[in-house]
Symmetry: C2
Subunit: 506 residues, 2 copies
């Protein structure tokens, strides 16, 4: 065997071990949120920090660099789409990005976000922006240092976006968001004024046992199988993949109406993505979604395109009213469909409907750039937030708890993350447009509670590739071009016209 | 700071990280048995193996050896009982033991036991010793090589015992077991012949919900607190400590009568030991029990000395019959007490009562030595097993599933493990004797469902030390001398005399 082939083998072994360690870190984090008694917190923080140091040391080790140097001549001769070529390319990309960040900066980012998180929890509870402010300042200062490490970038924000959506730029996002604002702001205003949908029946808490029963039935139909999946209860719902056949979802029940059900469908979408990655990629760094924006397209496809669609409720409305005869009486599929798509301008992003959601994101995208450039003095952030909530959603934020302090992201140092939610919305609609032309029986299948052909389509076109393709390559191959807001806008207008009447959208 | 102090600090940091990694491995194993979907098995095996390699590499690294060399002159000048001196001594002991085993032997042991385990599961199900035999041969061969690494030892078996009970020798165990046989064999025979106790009411399955209710009440009284403990369901009950404030117990319900309750009390005893180790030892290798024999003394103390004692049932009998009015009618405390102490010679060790249990262990101890020396040809193991079951318990083993194939231990390469169960029985009775003289109100407290003074006594005298004291040192300080079978024998005779009449024990 040539020296290059030996190095490639050794590289694959090292990457497989790194993947094992990353899977272990996911399990530690999952257990921390789902199973761990509170007394385990301090030891768990130590365990995560020790493991994190080991992973970082190996991911940036000169030995790994040498293996990459030695393996690259081998894969240079291969089909660039083959697993080995892609593996080496992605490993090189990760390595170069990791080594750009000096150890002291990485340590400072870890330390500040560890300190910031509990401060945010307190500050949100007390609605006290003053406590939040100094940590936000420190975090932004570290972000600026981080951006310097990533030079050259066209504009600073691009370095942050790139962590969540490789190669995405603010210059690409801006016109897309401008178009969304142009359409969504008047649409939200008109819908809010119309009062055509009364969703009171779904505005109260439903019995947990019934919700769990519905959830199990729906997820079983979707493809949830206890041999490879778990569903547990946590404060904040999330999905994590310990391996492609060990997918863990969580949901929560302290919410109104069907929120827990939608949350489960959402996390199922994330889980199915990881579960349908080609098995031969499982012990490599390719066994993840292509980007956050792609991940979100999958969760939103199942939550909104399926779960808030009329065919879904034509299948499940009678089951739902059968489970909740006292609470929901004899609501028809079309009633539920209208209620779960009601346009409801409100304060909290994670509770937002499909129409208002992207305006929450756009507000954050704009503020992040202004904070980063220094154009917006941080002390004025709450006012700037509230002003935009007024301009975009027509509502007045009464306290920072319901405004600028609502999200966990900034306290974790995640700037540049929010836009990926909207990219997910837009991609989901682009996918839906293509799927609808290819799976012509899909609505009928959904009405029968059948999802196998949809799962297969997603596996074949999106999931199986994992990180083999960059987000843009995947976009190009599956959707034939750039991210496009028009399919989302067209679908939304059509849906709202059906629910609120044609007058709303003209 | 002197170079020695710097080295001591660095050593402590390294040991703390090793402890973190060991805690992580415990969590992976816990999750594997309790939570993991079956599809996660292959990835979990990889994760455990990668982590195991990292732990082993660090536990045997020349750098660790150098840190020990440099730190020892510092701790040589300290009180030998202080935390730092004990920490360095234990770390040295572990290091020297670990480096004795060459990497290829360790890899072979890991590989063979990974292969052996599923073969054992199959062989037991099919009652097919022939499938078990070749793996047993390989395992014993590896054990012999392992023993060579541990030279010099007085006799080979000592090297195996030492892994579970440091410094214990076969020469110490043999006369103790001879004494137990002398007493137990006739006692078992007499009790079996007497027929004085009818435990039919506890020979059937009780409803799981009621068992869980009883379990929660009892464990809450014992000191189980959800801020630091979990209790889950598994095929085989066990306890694992992820940290001293993160204790995880499991139990199972596919058993008759009150077995699940006793199993929970047993695992609680293990858990309390780890939970009450001095908090300042938590991030060191001292934060474990002193040995398996000490651990078992704690689990048996709660299971047998408390849970099968009359005062316990004077407190809990009416609660039990209140939970199971249809199944248990109006059984009195003394009825339940007699039933749960019935002498019942049977095939399966893990289901054995307190009187027959040690005979199961002695049989294994004797056979292990004969296998190791070659005195017993392995092909004749089933006959030798069955002969001893006849001689010790007076019963005829109908098939190997109920005989030689029943235990998991040999398939995991655990030889020399079984005697620690009996050492635990004997120590529990020695402890009980001393506790009874010091906590004179204990029976009264148990009748009131109060266990705080017992917990405190155990914390102060046994638990807090962790591994700071060797098993023999702890024995010496708490029990003032060697392991002694007489307190166990005396307590057993007194108990059986009360239940079966004086005639049984004269």
């Amino acid at each position: 065997m040539s020296a290059g082939l030996v190095a490639l083998d050794e590289l694959k072994r090292e990457l497989a071990e790194l993947k094992d360690l990353v899977g272990i870190a996911s399990l530690l984090a999952w257990d921390q949120q789902v199973m761990m008694p509170s007394g385990g917190a301090a030891a768990r923080a130590d365990q995560l920090s020790t493991l994190g140091r080991i992973i970082h040391a190996r991911a940036t080790s000169p030995e790994l660099g040498k293996l990459l140097d030695a393996a690259e001549p081998v894969t240079a001769g291969l089909d660039p789409d083959c697993d080995d070529a892609r593996l080496v390319a992605v490993a090189r990309y990760d390595f170069e990005k990791d080594v750009k960040v000096p150890a002291d900066l990485r340590a400072a980012m870890t330390r500040v976000s560890a300190e910031f998180y509990p401060v945010w929890v307190e500050a949100r509870r007390e609605s006290d922006f003053g406590r939040f402010l100094p940590y936000l300042e420190q975090t932004l200062e570290l972000k600026r240092r981080y951006i310097e490490c990533m030079a050259p970038v066209t504009e600073p924000y691009d370095a942050l976006l790139d962590d969540f959506e490789q190669e995405m730029t603010a210059a690409t996002v801006r016109p897309i968001f401008a178009r969304l604002k142009e359409v969504l702001i008047p649409l939200v205003r008109a819908a809010a004024a119309s009062g055509a949908v009364d969703d009171t029946p779904l505005r109260r808490q439903l019995p947990v046992a019934g919700l769990q029963q519905m959830e199990q039935r729906v997820l079983a139909r979707f493809g949830f199988d206890s041999a490879a999946w778990r569903l547990d209860t946590t404060v904040h719902p999330f999905e994590t993949a310990i391996a492609i056949s060990d997918i863990r979802l969580t949901t929560r029940y302290e919410v109104d109406g069907l929120e827990s059900l939608f949350s489960s469908m959402h996390e199922f979408g994330h889980g199915l993505y990881e579960h349908q990655i080609a098995p031969e990629l499982d012990s490599t760094p390719l066994a993840h979604g292509a980007s956050l924006g792609w991940h979100e397209s999958q969760s939103l496809l199942w939550e909104n395109l399926i779960g808030r669609g009329l065919p879904f409720w034509e299948r499940f409305a009678s089951e739902l009213t059968g489970v909740f005869p006292n609470e929901l009486g004899s609501l028809a599929a079309s009633d539920i469909y209208a209620m779960v798509n009601k346009v409801n301008p409100d304060f909290i992003r994670v509770e937002a409907d499909e129409t208002t959601y992207n305006l929450h994101v756009i507000l954050r995208f704009e503020l992040e750039q202004e904070m980063l450039s220094g154009e917006l003095p941080l002390a004025e952030l709450p006012q700037a937030w509230n002003q935009r909530m007024h301009d975009y959603l027509g509502i007045e934020v009464p306290e920072d708890r319901l405004g600028v302090l609502q999200d966990v992201h900034w306290s974790q140092g995640s700037f540049g993350y929010f836009p990926t939610y909207s990219l997910g919305h837009l991609r989901a609609s682009q996918l839906w447009q293509r799927i609808s032309t290819e799976l012509t029986e899909l609505s009928e299948e959904i009405r029968r509670g059948e999802f196998a052909s949809l799962r297969e389509w997603l596996r074949e076109n999106v999931h199986r590739h994992g990180r083999k393709l960059t987000p843009a390559e995947l976009q190009d191959r599956v959707l034939g071009g750039a991210i496009d807001p028009e399919p989302f806008i067209a679908r939304l207008r059509e849906k709202l016209a059906g629910i609120y009447g044609e007058a709303l959208v003209v």
